[in-house]
């Protein structure tokens, strides 16, 4: 079952085409990452999904149907441009936002007290928002987003400006949401977070889909036909090896293979060679950051050539 299904959606602002025939699905119970450079169309896509903007064409179904007030009440949204009402108390602010999601004021307050305690703000709930530090406000914003126990949480740059301790806390809460069978969509530039947390991902560039699928599958797809090895022996003497480079960061040698030679072939040859002793072997998968730079940094026409991941 899908929490979000976007089919052939396009949106233009004047002469600028912000989203161009975009299609993807987000499955219920997963953490889904949206990646892309600035201006790629991520935020526009999210706003269309939330009915803040209307698409020019295409169809969007969210939580099983077209958006309605009832469905909006089942979604928690934390945009990149976010804040809180500065001149009221944290508790009042969260309670008000809860009522906008259909909660009664009493329920919203009770849930806010529970959540603020969970994020370590129980002492600050009766303080004015303006007196809170930036980190505290960000935790309160996250609490406001999940206050009504939404089935779908959409967060733009969830860890922006958070210190490592608070990053860990928010990460844990996002995992908890997924583990309860609810869905998280995060839009981010922090690739290592996507590698670590996301089940599936979508990368958009200039309004179009360039990468889409399971994170591991995408990385494998962009694997550079090379292996990291450690041990003793002359790797270059093995058949099918094109060149050998030392990667200081990985503390290993990167063995790039010639066309037509697989990593299995290399492993077999190394194991059978009497002068080679292998202590480490790892297929060299590119980081998402490398893929992001390769795909988003290159012109659109080259980025997708032969490598577009259109399947899920």
């Amino acid at each position: 079952m899908n929490s979000l299904a976007v089919s052939s959606v396009s949106k233009s602002f004047g002469a600028t085409r912000a989203v161009d025939d975009l299609s993807f699905e987000v499955r219920t119970g997963e953490i889904f990452a949206m990646l892309g450079p600035n201006g790629a169309g991520k935020t526009t896509t999210i706003r269309m999904a939330l009915d803040i903007l209307r698409p020019d064409s295409g169809r969007i179904e969210i939580l099983g149907g077209p958006i309605s007030q009832q469905i909006k009440d089942r979604i928690g949204y934390l945009p990149e441009e976010r804040g809180l009402y500065r001149n009221i108390t944290v508790l009042d602010c969260l309670a008000y936002l809860g009522t906008l999601k259909g909660m009664t004021s009493r329920d919203a307050k009770a849930r806010a007290i529970e959540l603020l305690a969970r994020v370590g703000l129980d002492d600050a709930m009766n303080k004015k928002v303006s007196t809170l530090s930036r980190g505290m406000q960000q935790k309160a914003q996250f609490a406001a987003t999940v206050l009504h126990n939404p089935d779908l949480v959409i967060i733009d740059e969830p860890f922006s400006g958070l210190d490592p301790v608070n990053t860990l806390l928010i990460k844990e809460m996002m995992y908890e949401i997924r583990d309860k069978g609810q869905t998280v969509i995060m839009s981010t530039h922090m690739m290592h977070q996507v590698e670590e947390m996301a089940d599936r991902m979508l990368m958009v560039s200039e309004g179009s889909k360039v990468l889409y699928g399971r994170v591991e599958d995408v990385r494998r797809q962009y694997a550079s036909h090379a292996v990291y090895v450690s041990g003793e022996g002359d790797w270059a003497s093995l058949p099918g090896v094109e060149r050998v480079e030392h990667d200081r960061e990985k503390r290993a040698d990167l063995v790039c293979l010639a066309e037509g030679n697989s990593t299995d072939d290399f492993l077999r040859a190394a194991a059978m060679h009497p002068d080679i002793h292998l202590s480490r072997f790892e297929v060299a998968l590119p980081s998402l950051e490398d893929i992001f730079i390769e795909v988003a940094g290159a012109p659109q026409s080259n980025a997708g050539t032969g490598r577009k991941a259109n399947g899920a």
Binding site: L53, Y96, L100
Partner: protein, 406 residues
């Protein structure tokens, strides 16, 4: 509708917690009541219209050498007749009298009277008493009507020729009392209208400044947010004006008899019903402008600058109040009561002092509420996602495009 109500309630509560709102809503009437009561108390009597209230406890003596006066009569509580100046002087010296008057033999010719007291007091309250006594004695017996006219020479009823030259309209009540009432009501109406609409504008801009607008718009349509804010600020304004009017009523209740001219106010109850309509129309029109300006402004500094565009025409009837009072059916007065921005004040001012033809009231209300419809329609065109989420003030061309194309 629930969400609109939630937004309204939030606006109302936010206002209720704002010191400036509390001060203006409750502080001003409390201060006004306190000041009036203090002044009344300071004046030192419960019946300031009684000219003899400030008299000293000791009575006043008089010696009539002219033979024109009789006994003190109705003034016996205050006056004692003496046959000789020596006796009166003795009692004044001993403190039994506060002072005494001597009416000489040639009083009718000279008009001269001598007052003798332990200390000189040019504004002594007993002089008024004694003058009143003299008038009553000289005229009261033979010409009570003449006495009444001398004491109250003219109760003026002003009439004005209608523009047609045929219909004669009476300017109702005491014109000074009505002037005060109209001025006070216009001031209250203007202050609450401005305060409510300015708060609405601030509220919209604050959503943007606090970066809450996108979060809120993920729960509500922009039109729901607009409706909630207009309703909430309207309720806050209503609480304000009702509190003020309640304060005025309380003041009249407490001191009504003591406040000069209050008793002379003559305004028909229908005027208040019409005033409610004009207040509602005025608020909705100002709210539409304020919401539109709030939608295109990006900070609290610039919003109020644009509001001059509608606040200046709105206060024109207050600036020309004396002209309207002098000629409530002049072309200028009629124009101000038709122009939608100035109509709420302009028409109320005219209604308070003259009989306005029914068709003028109906036409003025049609123009006002027609403008409200147009204003809200334009505000809704500006109160769109793209404008609200934009971090920039639209250019004039962009603004025109938004208004024309939506």
């Amino acid at each position: 509708m629930n969400r609109i109500w939630n937004v309204s309630l939030q606006e109302l509560v936010a206002n209720a917690k704002r010191p400036s709102y509390l001060l203006l809503t409750f502080g001003v009437p409390v201060l006004a009541i306190f000041l009036v009561l203090a002044i009344t108390l300071f004046m030192g009597d419960d019946e300031p219209e009684d000219p003899f209230a400030d008299l000293p406890d000791e009575p006043i003596g008089y010696v009539d050498l002219s033979g024109l006066l009789g006994g003190p009569g109705g003034f016996a509580d205050y006056l004692i007749r003496y046959e000789s100046q020596a006796a009166a002087g003795e009692d004044t010296k001993s403190g039994r009298l506060s002072c005494y008057y001597v009416i000489p033999e040639d009083y009718m010719e000279s008009g001269q009277v001598t007052r003798v007291s332990p200390q000189i007091n040019v504004a002594a309250s007993d002089m008024t008493l004694f003058k009143s006594f003299l008038l009553t004695e000289l005229l009261g017996k033979d010409s009570p009507l003449l006495l009444a006219r001398l004491q109250s020479p003219a109760v003026v009823h002003e009439h004005q020729l209608d523009r047609s030259g045929e219909l004669v309209t009476e300017i109702k009540g005491d014109s000074f009392a009505n002037f005060g009432l109209v001025y006070g009501f216009a001031l209250i109406m203007m202050v609450t209208l401005f305060f409510s609409s300015t708060q609405l504008m601030r509220s919209v801009i604050t959503e943007k400044e606090n970066r809450m607008i996108e979060i809120v718009l993920s729960s509500l349509r922009p039109i729901q947010l607009l409706a909630g804010k207009v309703l909430g600020q309207g309720l806050a304004g209503l609480v304000q004006i009702l509190t003020w009017l309640g304060g005025v009523l309380l003041l009249i209740q407490l001191t009504g008899a003591d406040i000069p001219y209050v008793g002379a106010i003559e305004l028909p109850p229908s005027l208040f019903a019409i005033a409610v309509l004009y207040y509602l129309g005025g608020y909705l029109l100002f709210a539409a402008f304020s919401a539109g300006i709030g939608a295109i402004s990006i900070n609290l500094r610039e919003g109020p600058q644009y509001s001059m565009v509608f606040s200046l025409p709105a206060v024109l009837p207050l600036m020309f109040l004396s002209n309207i009072l002098e000629a409530p059916n002049s072309t200028m007065a009629v124009a101000l009561s038709f122009f939608p921005l100035s109509a709420p004040l302009g028409m109320i001012e005219r209604l308070a002092i003259t009989i306005v033809p029914g068709w003028q009231i109906v036409l003025s209300l049609i123009i006002l509420f027609g403008s409200v419809g147009a204003g809200l329609w334009l505000a809704a065109r500006l109160f769109r996602v793209n404008t609200l989420l934009s971090g920039q003030v639209p250019t004039r061309n962009e603004l025109l495009r938004m208004l024309v194309q939506g």
